[in-house]
Assembly symmetry: C2
Homo-oligomer: 302 residues x 2
């Protein structure tokens, strides 16, 4: 789409932070790029960028304008995918920002399932904490976001919410594995590991401990759920995760998980959402529909 090149150039300059740097990534000379930007600013009547000694930065007007540009560019993608869709081809790209719990089991199986039907659709999966995931939607670097216990929800349009009770994860031989449901105070008798503070599971546990007056002193803290899971088995300690991240690993025999009694720790909520007010490309919309139905079937809708 050549008539969009000007605004794509501006987008590149914003991303690169300088005209010359952007010109490199765009494979044109800085002269041409500079002139186009000057022309755009001329037409707009106000400067888009502030000129700094080491590059350029968006002006106030530019902030408004770049928003419009990103909207246009990704809406154009949607249009192209819709047009491709009505000529029978199912192509496209789906970009997802999600938290760790989705990576080990849920997303791989869901993407595989979708690509079995539509092999020409490509995927991008980006690990983002709950705040960065929303930011990814805003700057159009992701079509969908899946986050656990999101902080703020401005610009976020929820497609489905499912309950995720916190589970305690342990080696199969652990004493607590004999129970079907575990009380929080029972965990206090054993060594535990916890995710670091910014994560939703930790957040729920912190509140629960404060309310119940129980202290769990973690012998291990980590920001990797995968490490916590594997270490729990290796050293026979407890850790805490949500069921969507525990696919069928718990059925292999090495590792088991048991829900914590909901009187102690309330269920967290997992959100699937998109940018508010945006019409998703066909592929992303269909994949979101698949996720919605799978989530609704596998978990309790909140």
């Amino acid at each position: 789409m050549r008539y969009l090149s000007s605004i794509r150039y501006i987008d590149a300059v914003v991303k690169a932070g300088s005209i010359r740097a952007a010109a490199d990534t765009l494979a044109i000379t800085s002269t041409a790029l500079n002139r186009r930007i000057l022309a755009m600013e001329e037409e707009l009547g106000v400067p888009i960028f502030e000129r700094l000694p080491h590059g350029v930065r968006l002006s106030a007007a530019g902030e408004i304008y770049i928003h419009h540009i990103r909207n246009q560019l990704s809406d154009m993608e949607r249009v192209k995918s819709q047009i491709a869709d009505l000529s029978g081809v199912r192509r496209g790209h789906v970009s997802i920002a999600c938290s760790q719990a989705l990576l080990p089991y849920f997303l791989p199986s869901q993407i595989a399932l979708y690509r079995k039907e539509h092999p020409n659709v490509t995927f991008g999966v980006h690990l983002r904490d709950r705040e960065a995931a929303e930011q990814a939607l805003v700057d159009h670097s992701a079509d969908l976001a899946i986050v656990f216990e999101p902080v703020r929800l401005a610009d976020f349009m929820t497609l489905i919410r499912v309950r995720q009770p916190v589970h305690v994860v342990m080696a199969a031989g652990h004493p607590l594995a004999a129970k079907t449901s575990v009380r929080l105070f029972e965990c206090a008798s054993y060594p535990v590991s916890l995710p670091t503070a910014p994560y939703g599971v930790r957040h729920l546990l912190d509140i629960a401990m404060r309310v119940a007056g129980i202290r769990l002193d973690p012998v291990i803290q980590s920001d990797s759920f995968e490490f916590l899971r594997n270490h729990a088995v290796a050293e026979d300690i407890l850790t805490f995760q949500i069921p969507i991240g525990l696919g069928d690993e718990t059925s292999t025999g090495q590792m088991v998980s048991r829900p914590i009694d909901s009187r102690d720790v309330p269920s967290g909520i997992l959100y699937l959402g998109q940018l508010k007010g945006r019409t998703l490309p066909v592929a992303a919309a269909r994949f979101a529909a698949q996720l919605t139905s799978t989530l609704a079937n596998q978990f309790e809708v909140s």
Copy 2:
């Protein structure tokens, strides 16, 4: 905005129905326009238009694309007005589609009030029946719509709803003018005039007559509310209108209006709305805010 000329050209072709006709309105040759369209179709990979012997028509892909184009163009207007707004200038244009009742009193006074604050904002007021008003929102020929008893509300985002009880309008000397509220059966004793079928007032009255088993045989039918109002005074017959269209004409002495008892005819509802999912230009948004507050103060919110 020169980089938008291509898509503006396409929009013009859609509106004109043929390339040559559009070229005239755009003050360019049909050659240039034709070539740009061919180039766009080349880039898009599919034809935007179907070629007919007497012009062109949108293809299926074109339908999708023109939607995107109109969005882009009017979103650009919004961006420009927002940018103008932050540099302190209050410019812009507000286009309104509304039904007849708004024309005599309400909109003139509201627009005058607004323009007193912002003299650089221009207005377009377009008379549209309740279905055409919504269509005007969809094709971006109007920013706001004010309609009485709308038929369908897809794509319509309601900003405010106010009750509009049907009033009977008559000359000051009419016997019914002595009452503060009028029952429907009382009207049956006098000659009446009615709006024609497609209008909301007529619709409400038709239902009321059927329910109450009363027949009002109109000696005059007209699609002009202004004519009905003036004729009611001239020939001393009754007619029916909603209060928002009766500003202060009724206080000049020539003409009076009295509400019909709500047991007989339920209140109609007047809707102020915009296109769903659209961010309005600053001027339109501010004017809508003014309308909302005025309506909320003068009438009963529904």
